[in-house]
Symmetry: C2
């Protein structure tokens, strides 16, 4: 199976997980995995949340941001990836002047 | 946790899964997930293999290729992603003139 934005329905979620502004995502999901092409406008964020039963991997495509991982702020930029294993907490904030674009996988 | 190529050891694997030429990968792995920044030179491939107990998701960063998924050849290019759920087979071939670069997650 091969996907791109044009093949997936777009969701715009305001204040996702208690974050700021809009989170836009094109999502494909089955019983085992969720994968999405996501973006946050400047100043937007995905709020802090704990992965109780799953893990998440985020590859940064474009832009600059900050991950708060278990209370530690870590800058992220294009070509880097962030891993939040099961049992850990994170948030993602767009700290740049452009859209922060990423590809995320949530492993259930 | 945030990773990039500079923080991960580089592996160069010849004829990976029976494919052609070199597969280069910077890998991070734990008991639950494997994630890697991979690249295939022009003409290189990852050979056909079945995901018996895990699944794989591949986001294409750069270049052009073909995925053979359960016997069907599907072209892939930058900004697209390929999903091979558990129980399915796939290969990845660089059909372009430049490196095919990708980010992959194997969910165990």
């Amino acid at each position: 199976m091969v996907f791109d934005k044009s093949k997936l329905e777009k969701s715009v979620i305001k204040n996702f997980k208690g974050g700021k502004k809009d989170f836009t995502a094109n999502i494909y999901e089955d019983a085992e995995n969720k994968m999405l092409l996501g973006k946050l406008e400047p100043g937007a964020s995905i709020g802090l949340h704990k992965h109780e039963t799953d893990s998440e991997i985020i590859y940064i495509i474009k832009g600059d941001g900050t991950v708060c991982y278990d209370g530690e702020n870590i800058p992220v930029c294009a070509s880097q990836f962030h891993y939040c294993p099961k049992g850990h907490s994170h948030s993602l904030i767009n700290t740049g002047n452009e859209f922060l674009e990423f590809f995320a996988v949530v492993t259930k």
